[in-house]
């Protein structure tokens, strides 16, 4: 390897005078200003509540949902794997016996505290039944008090997936 000589700037008279360099910089910024004032609609800024993001893919970790089996019953078997994997301790499951003969166990309550949740997706990876997913594409959850952010089993089941694959793939 040879020695790379880095060219040094700032020694010529024009550079020491500063004025030509400042004029060049002013020309650059004025170019941007003129271009944008002539056509403000071309500025890439998204005006959010009116312009929604269009670049959310199926790998985006949005708000959770619980999937269903092909017979529209809950796919979750209340194994507590997600609650165990959760680093934020935000999943609260109460299990109960399942009497319809489809499976042995199901959740009576399945609450997620979205204020505690860090959206890491470990619950989705831990789930053996593909029962919990984060493919709703919801990135903004709104509530007026803390209790509004604890979402229940019914709400989680009611939200459809935003990218197809409606039902659990495990059953």
């Amino acid at each position: 390897m040879g020695i790379k000589t880095v060219e040094r700037y700032g020694d010529t008279l024009a550079e020491k005078l500063y004025i030509p360099a400042i004029a060049k910089g002013l020309a650059v910024t004025f170019g941007h200003f003129a271009k944008n004032i002539a056509n403000p609609t071309s500025i890439p800024t998204k005006q959010y509540p009116l312009e929604q993001p269009q670049d959310i893919t199926d790998r985006y970790r949005g708000r959770h949902r619980l999937t269903k089996r092909s017979d529209d019953s809950v796919a979750c078997v209340a194994c507590f794997m997600c609650a165990t994997a959760c680093p934020a301790d935000c999943i609260f499951i109460e299990a109960t016996e399942r009497t319809d003969g489809v499976d042995e166990k199901m959740p009576a309550k399945f609450n997620i505290d979205l204020l505690e949740c860090i959206y890491c997706g470990y619950c989705v990876e831990a789930c053996p039944c593909d029962a919990i997913r984060m493919d709703t594409g919801i990135f903004s959850v709104i509530g007026k008090k803390r209790e509004d952010f604890i979402i229940t089993k019914e709400e989680l089941l009611a939200t459809p997936g935003a990218f197809g694959k409606e039902n659990s793939l495990a059953h």
């Binding site: 004025i19 650059v28 910024t29 200003f33 609609t41 500025i43």
Partner: protein, 424 residues
């Protein structure tokens, strides 16, 4: 005979240019900065759907600062000085406007009067005195707030003020040698002619070096980038106004913009022909009132129509239907169009009537004030434009710039000017 009409007009213009322009300048600063950085800037706050390009945001900011809690840190020992400092900064910046002439002598029903806030001939000396005083407010603020960042900020302001004020004074001296007067109205009248037969004889063409030195030092004077070390928000929190909040902070904030407007007004007066239209002398306006009316009408129409077309094109989001903004555009278009029609109609009416000397004088004054305001806003734009282009100078770089570069250049310029004045 002396009359007060000119002073009354000057009071109105001064208030509009200093206090009235603060919200506009804040808005301009934020939108220009945004456009320079390919962003949009504030454009969402509105009153019944009227956002006027985001200008309403300035009103919201003002309201917020007004209703904020008046908080006094408990460790402050001299509350009087602590409260005095923002008042000095703001008052000194505001009073700087007192000697700026806005037009030629006004001839009204009661006699002649100068269109100037204070009818005094101190001129540039008044500016130098008060501009120097406003730095004392900054120094006092940093010292009295008993805060290390504040002290550092005022220390920087002190070092800065002694390094640029000498060069600024010498640049002014060379302008005084050129114009032969300290009275700003005299300077503007000197600049109304032509240089070499084709250039307007503005200060910047006669004394380019003094103009550059004065503009650089004026940036330092107003504590704006690239010389805003006293505030230095990336290094010393907020510098001299770290401990200030609510309206006390707002006075510093407004003081900065008023000082910027005042510096712009002085730069325009000294180097850009003041209230003179380029290539048009004041007497020419008085002699040809009909031409003046006609040209106002001709210039006004494309400006307003262009603004309407631009608004229709820009006041929307691409691909999204927004009824609120469409309604705003529609109402503003109606207002602007009816204004244009009314203005053109009254100009045509006035063209047919023979005018008295007094009313011609009023029209000439209005044209000159308009010229001056446009020039001041262009200079304000330069202030903003430079702020969003150049990075901040380091504390020692400012001193070496002031002492090693600007001071020798200014002295050389004074000597050359003096020789030229004696020989010519």
């Amino acid at each position: 005979m002396f009359s007060v009409e000119g002073t009354i007009i000057a009071v109105v213009v001064t208030t509009l240019l200093s206090l009235g322009s603060v919200p506009v300048l804040v808005w301009m600063e934020r939108r220009v900065a945004a456009f320079i950085q390919d962003r949009l800037g504030p454009n969402r706050s509105h009153i019944y759907g009227f956002r006027i390009g985001g200008l309403v945001q300035s009103l919201a900011d003002m309201l917020k600062l007004l209703v904020k809690e008046e908080f006094y840190p408990s460790h402050i020992k001299f509350k009087f000085y602590y409260l005095l400092a923002p008042a000095i900064v703001f008052g000194a910046s505001y009073l700087t406007f007192a000697v700026i002439p806005y037009s030629n002598t006004l001839l009204s029903e009661n006699g002649h009067s100068v269109v100037q806030l204070l009818p005094i001939e101190l001129g540039i000396l008044w500016f130098v005195a008060l501009a120097g005083l406003s730095v004392y407010g900054i120094i006092l603020a940093g010292w009295s707030s008993h805060n290390k960042y504040g002290i550092l900020g005022s220390l920087r302001a002190t070092a800065q003020v002694i390094s640029y004020e000498v060069a600024m004074g010498l640049a002014i001296v060379s302008m005084l040698l050129t114009y032969g007067t300290i009275y700003l109205n005299g300077m503007v009248e000197y600049q109304s002619g032509l240089l070499f037969g084709f250039l307007p004889s503005w200060g910047i063409f006669m004394q380019p070096l003094a103009a550059i030195i004065f503009i650089i030092t004026a940036f330092a004077e107003t504590n704006r980038a690239p010389f805003d070390v006293a505030e230095g928000e990336s290094e010393i929190v907020a510098g001299f106004h770290t401990e200030y909040s609510a309206m006390k902070f707002a006075l510093f904030f407004m003081g900065e913009y008023v000082a910027m407007a005042a510096s712009s007004a002085l730069i325009v007066t000294m180097f850009f022909g003041g209230y003179n239209l380029p290539w048009v002398e004041g007497q020419l306006l008085l002699d040809n009132p009909k031409t003046v009316f006609a040209s106002i009408g001709i210039i006004l129409a494309p400006l307003v129509i262009g603004l309407i077309i631009w608004m229709k094109k820009s006041n929307r989001i691409k691909g999204i239907n927004e009824p609120q903004r469409q309604k705003e555009t529609k109402i503003l278009t109606i207002i602007l169009a009816s204004f244009l029609i009314a203005a053109e109609f009254s100009i045509i009416m006035l063209l047919g009537v023979e005018q008295s000397a007094q009313s011609i004088s009023y029209v000439a004054t209005a044209v000159q004030i308009g010229t001056f305001v446009v020039k001041v806003f262009m200079m304000n734009f330069v202030f903003i434009w430079v702020r969003w282009t150049l990075p901040r100078f380091r504390y020692d770089q400012i001193q070496s710039l002031g002492w090693n570069i600007l001071l020798p250049l200014a002295i050389a310029n004074v000597i050359i000017t003096a020789i030229a004045v004696v020989l010519l």
